[in-house]
C-alpha cells in the first residue's frame, strides 16, 4: 500500500515565554487505507496533530510533511505553508479530507441534508441518492430535513460522520468523535463507521482514549510518550510509528 502521509521531524510548539507544550513527530508514515488510532490522555497533542494532518494548522518546522492522496499526486505541505499557499491548502482539504469534531461542528442554520451535501456542493458534485443511502447506513435517514438543533448528541455525531464522508474523501480525520456520547452509543456509531471506511477504502485517523481497545485487532496505534524537558519548562509529547 502506498504511503498517504509522510512526516519527518515535524514540530509544533505552543510556548509562552519559553514555557509550555511541544508536539514532536520524529517519523510517522501512514499508509493508504490504514486505520490509525492516536491514543493518549487529554492534552497530549492529539488534536494538534490531527489539525496539522487536516491542513488547518501550520507546523513550526518540518523536515518532511507530504500528503499523497488517492489520485497519486504527492504534495509538500510544509512548503505550501511556508509559501502561504492557503488556497491550495483549502483545495486539498476540500477534496481529500473529511473531518469530524468532538462537538459535531454542524452548521445550525442548515438542515441535516444540506449539512451533509455542503462538501459535495463545494466540489460541484452532482446531486444523486448517495446522500440518502449514506444517511440510511448511518441511521439518520429520517432526520434529513431537520435542523441539527433538534437532534440528540449521538445523532449529531452520525450526521458529522456522514458529512465528512459525503464527498468520498481519501482521508477521514476524527477528533474524539464519541467523547460526549455514552459508551453503548459510541460503540454502535464506531462500528458502522469502521465498516464504511473499510468499504470505501478510506484512510481513517482517530484521536481517542476510550473505545480504541475494542477494535485493537483492526487498528494501529501510534506510540505516544511524554517528557518534561528544558529545565521543566516544556512539556514535550512525541508520536512515532
Amino acid at each position: 500500500m502506498s504511503i498517504i502521509y509522510s512526516l519527518r521531524n515535524v514540530v509544533k510548539s505552543r510556548l509562552v515565554d519559553g514555557a509550555g507544550f511541544r508536539l514532536n513527530v520524529p517519523s510517522v508514515d501512514i499508509r493508504a487505507e490504514e486505520n490509525i488510532a492516536l491514543v493518549g490522555h487529554s492534552g497530549c497533542g492529539k488534536s494538534t496533530l490531527l489539525d496539522m494532518l487536516a491542513m488547518v494548522l501550520h507546523p513550526d518546522s518540518a523536515e518532511q510533511f507530504t500528503i499523497t492522496p488517492r489520485d497519486g499526486q504527492s504534495t509538500d505541505l510544509a512548503l505550501l505553508w511556508q509559501k502561504k499557499k492557503r488556497n491550495h491548502l483549502s483545495m486539498l482539504r476540500k477534496q481529500h479530507v473529511g473531518y469530524v469534531l468532538q462537538q459535531g461542528g454542524l452548521l445550525p442554520y442548515l438542515t441535516v441534508r444540506e449539512n451533509i451535501e455542503l462538501p459535495r456542493k463545494l466540489m460541484d458534485m452532482p446531486e444523486d441518492d448517495s446522500t440518502r443511502s449514506l444517511a440510511r447506513v448511518m441511521g439518520i435517514h429520517r432526520q434529513l430535513d431537520k435542523l441539527p438543533g433538534l437532534l440528540s448528541a449521538g445523532e449529531r455525531q452520525r450526521v458529522a460522520f456522514t458529512r465528512a464522508l459525503s464527498h468520498r474523501p481519501s482521508i477521514l480525520l476524527a477528533d474524539e468523535p464519541t467523547a460526549s456520547l455514552d459508551p453503548i452509543t459510541a460503540r454502535k456509531i464506531m462500528a458502522v463507521v469502521m465498516e464504511l471506511v473499510k468499504g470505501l477504502k478510506i484512510t481513517m485517523i482517530t484521536a481517542s482514549h476510550d473505545w480504541a481497545h475494542v477494535y485493537k485487532m483492526d487498528l494501529r496505534s501510534l506510540h505516544q510518550e511524554a517528557a518534561v524537558v528544558e529545565n521543566g519548562n516544556v512539556y514535550q509529547s512525541t508520536f512515532r510509528d
Binding site: 489539525d51 492557503r86 452548521l107 463545494l122
Partner: protein, 403 residues
Amino acid sequence: MSQFKNIVSLSFRDYSHEWRMSGCFVLALASVLAPMMILFGLKFGIVSSMINDLVQNPENREIRAVGSGRYLDDWFVEYAKREDVAFIIPKTRALAATIQLKSKTAGRIFSTELLATADGDPVLEMAPRKPSGFNEVILSESIANKLDVRKGEQIDGSLARQFNGKRERVHVELNVIDVMPDHVIDRKIAFVSLDLLLATESFKDGRAVPRLGWTGDDARGLDREYPSFRLYTRSIFDVAPLVAELEDQGVNVKANLAQINTVQSIDRNLTIIFWIIACVGAVGFSFSLGASLWANVDRKHKELSILRLVGFQGGKIVLFPVMQSLYTGMLGWLLAVLIYLMAEQSINQLLAPSLQIERVICYLQPAHFFWALALTLTVAATAAVLGGVRASRIEPSDGLRDI
C-alpha cells in the same frame, strides 16, 4: 464562482436562522439612523424654508431711492438687464401717485397710494397675473377690507386736479384681479400697470391722456423723467455691493443693511451648526454600526472556521460577514426610512396647523435617502471587511474548539 454563490446563500441562511439576533442589529441601526434622518428632515424642511424666506424676502432685497432724482428710460433698461437686479420699475412723485377708491358697499372714499408693477415683481410673487392696461388693480388686504371688496369685484377710481382755474375729476373703472395678504404687504396700496400710473401723473400735471379721453396740454415730444424707482436685487447678498455702486454714481439710496447682516449671520451660523451635528451624527452612527458588526464577526468565528474546514477559501470567507452586514445595512435603512416617513407625516400633519403655515415642516429629497443608504452600506461593508479579513487571517484550527 460556486464558492461565491454558496457563501452568499449560506450567509443568508444563517442570517434568517438567527432572525432574533439579526432583528436586533437591524433595530439598533434604524434607531440611530431614523432620528438623524428626522433631524435632517427638519433642517431641509422648516429651517431651510425659514432661512430661505429671510434671504428671499423682498423687503430685505429692496433698494429705495431717497429724495427725488431724474432717471430716464435708458437708465431703467440698463439696470433691468443686470445679473444682480431681479426687478426695477419707476415711481412717480408721491403726490401724483394717489388715487381715490370707492366701492359700492363701503360708504367712504379712500385715498390710496398707487404703485406700478409688472411681471417679475417680487412683492406680488403670489399673484399669478399682474395688472395690465388701464382697468386692472391688485389691492393690499388692508385697503380691500376697508373697501369691502374681494377678488373679481369692481371698484371706482377717481382723480382730481385744478386745471385752467377749474376743478376737474375723472373716473376709471378698476377690476380687482387679486388681493395680497397682510404678510406680503401691510400698507394700503393699489398696484397698477405702469401705464395707468403714468396716466395718473399726466392728468395731475395737466397733460392730456388721449387713450383714456382725458383732456389737457399736449405732452407729445417730451422725454419722460422719473423721480424715483423701486429696485429688488436677486438675493440679499447683492444688496450691499449695489448700494455702494449706486452711491458712487451719486444716487442716494437706502436698504435694510442691518437686517441683512443679521439674516446672513443667522444663515451662516445655522449652516455651521448643522454641519457639526451632521458630522458628529455620521461619525457616531459609523462607530455604533461598525462596532456592532465587528463584534458580530467575532461571534461568528467558530462557524467561519468550520466553513474553512469544509474547504472554503479564506478570502471568500470574508464575504460571509460582509453579506450579513449588507443585509443589516439594507434592512436597517429600510426600517429607518419607514420610521422617518411616519414621523414626517405626523410632524407635518400635527404641527402645520398650529404653526399656521402652508409649507412642509419636515422634508427630505430622494437624493437624501440615497445618501443615507450609501453611507450605511459603506460603513457596514467596511466594518465587516476589516473584521472578516482579521477572521480569515487567523488559522482555521483556532476557532474550531471555541466553547
